[in-house]
């Protein structure tokens, strides 16, 4: 997994609530058996019309908005457990998604793939979206070690929370498998001492 430390970038605004994983990556693109290449079909049905032409209204086709940060409406990533949603965002170059709420499974999937789900208050999200839409050049600095989102245009530092274990993982590029495999002895002991009813 890629390490994450401090990121400075402009951002792409997507002020829609309840963006579900079927929008992020429609099911018909889930036929691949490896993790790569999903970025191409990120937000496929919003990005392209039915004849495959780019929809110029959609923000990812708007050259004014660039960057490795996606700022999206509340309850981002609801719906299916498909990790392909996190892969598609990452593959398309996003390293951070900012929202005021993330669906549980999506949050976990993102963290397992070096994509930071950064949760802010509703009011901050609203201000950020407005700021970026008014000035697409707005830079954001995401400082994971300090757990702060810095918006230079506002000269303001906004703290965010992240579970300490997950923070370590992101900073070091570790994932849960490494840790769990190291716990084999404890797991075997658990299995041995357990009263099995099945």
């Amino acid at each position: 997994m890629e390490k994450f430390n401090v990121l400075q970038s402009t951002a792409v605004p997507l002020p829609i609530e309840n963006i579900d994983t079927d929008q992020i990556i429609p099911a018909r693109f889930l036929k691949a058996t490896s993790r790569e290449g999903f970025g191409e079909n990120l937000f496929r049905d919003w990005r392209y019309d039915s004849s495959g032409q780019p929809n110029t209204q959609f923000v990812l086709n708007d050259p004014r908005f660039q960057g490795q940060v996606l700022v999206a409406g509340k309850n981002f990533g609801c719906g299916s457990s498909r990790e392909h949603a996190a892969w598609a965002l990452f593959d398309a170059g996003f390293k951070v998604v900012i929202s005021s709420y993330f669906a549980d499974i999506f949050r976990g999937n993102a963290l397992n793939n070096g994509l930071l789900p950064l949760q802010v208050e509703d009011s901050v999200l609203e201000r950020l979206l407005k700021q970026i839409e008014e000035d697409p050049g707005t830079e954001l600095i995401i400082d994971l070690p300090a757990e702060q989102l810095y918006v230079p245009a506002w000269e303001q530092r906004i703290p965010f929370e992240i579970e300490s274990y997950k923070k370590e993982c992101l900073l070091n590029g570790y994932d849960d498998i490494d840790y769990l495999v190291s716990q084999k002895e404890a797991i075997e002991a658990f299995e041995k001492n357990r009263v099995w009813v099945y």
Partner: protein, 465 residues
Amino acid sequence: MGKKTLFDKVWDAHVVRTLPGGQEVFYIDKHLIHEVTSPQAFEELENRGLSLYRRNQIVATADHNVPTKDQHLPIQEPLSRFQVDRLTENCEKHGVQLYGLGHPYQGIVHVIGPELGITQPGMTIVCGDSHTSTHGAFGAIAFGIGTSQVAQVMASQCLLLSRPKRMRITVEGDLRPGVTAKDLILYIIASLGTGGATGYFVEYAGSAIRSLSMEGRMTVCNMSIEMGARGGMIAPDETTFSYLEGRPFAPQGEEWEKAVAYWQTLYSDEGAQFEVEYHFKAASVTPMITYGTNPGMGISLNATVPQKVKASEQASFEKSLQYMGFAPGESLIGKPVDYVFIGSCTNSRIEDLRLVANYVQGKKKASHVEAIVVPGSKQVEEQAKAEGLDKILAEAGFELREPGCSACLAMNEDKIPAGAYCVSTSNRNFEGRQGPGSRTLLASPLVAAVSAVEGKITDITQYLS
């Protein structure tokens, strides 16, 4: 102290160890896998030189990406065939039990687990699919996981998790005639909203829940995820035990007695604490339908689309209505229907098929409607045939297919065309969920069957009593 919720009883029995930060190494009893979310996990394992830690605790099936016609023939679509073949290869190579196409146990993963008796009270069950919450109907902790987690469970039979908060939803009283478990859960989701239970594990309780069949309980737990919940569960009782007894993988003889004795301890103690509680009255629930593009956008079948919503949701609301072609404040009654899909892990069990067949017997679907019935498993299909439901459906113009996820997610060949309206018994009405541009209205099997016969959205209350 000492008063525990059902959820905590099961959770505590599976904690291997707790980390200083509060995360827990959590043991998984059963791991269900399918073709879409497992290949990258097998690959991950191989890349790291790891092997399966407990392959006997894994069960595989092919469901998402399979055709629902001519399953005896090779899959036509090359990418789908490749994905399904990969599952077969991976299972052979790693010694995992696979109920693939053609096997009498094949079907939608959340249908076969319960019907084979693999799903049992007090277990922990995961699958790379969000509707794993279905299995919670048996008093199991069951939830969907991402592919990285599929690999973790393969490698260690464990996950690293923080304990979710607890919510209890109590429904008292009797459901009215014609009101099904599907209407009940659509009603609950409409009340709480799509994010209303995010971060929680839900226990459903109360007399209305107790009087549901296992099929009905599965429908309720299945859709827990649609309000953001990590999962849903229902304390096991006599209904649960009599459903399980004699199923292929249920304990037998002395083992059965022992298991039931343990299962009887699985309930929330009087006075156990929940972070949040909701109470509903079963009598307030009516037949439901969704008008928008998330499952929280449900209304009573004969109510009208809301005029407006909270300011923060207004943009999504308008976008959604525009997509669906509906206007604020209007009624859906009388709107034409193009497709009717009866299937998915929410409503494809034998009870659902019986309900549909019972209604359509001696009737005909409207000529402009295409109506398909996709059984949840090979066993459901066989049972339906044994009961003669296939003939009743065929005479009414409904096509009975072979088992799979089918038009629930438009990954396989079964898709609803752009702009078409589909009354669907599945669980998601997201934009494009049933095919690019498709418009989904979620409802119960009964409402779906009536819509097919009438050719339009119909107030079913006239048929009741």
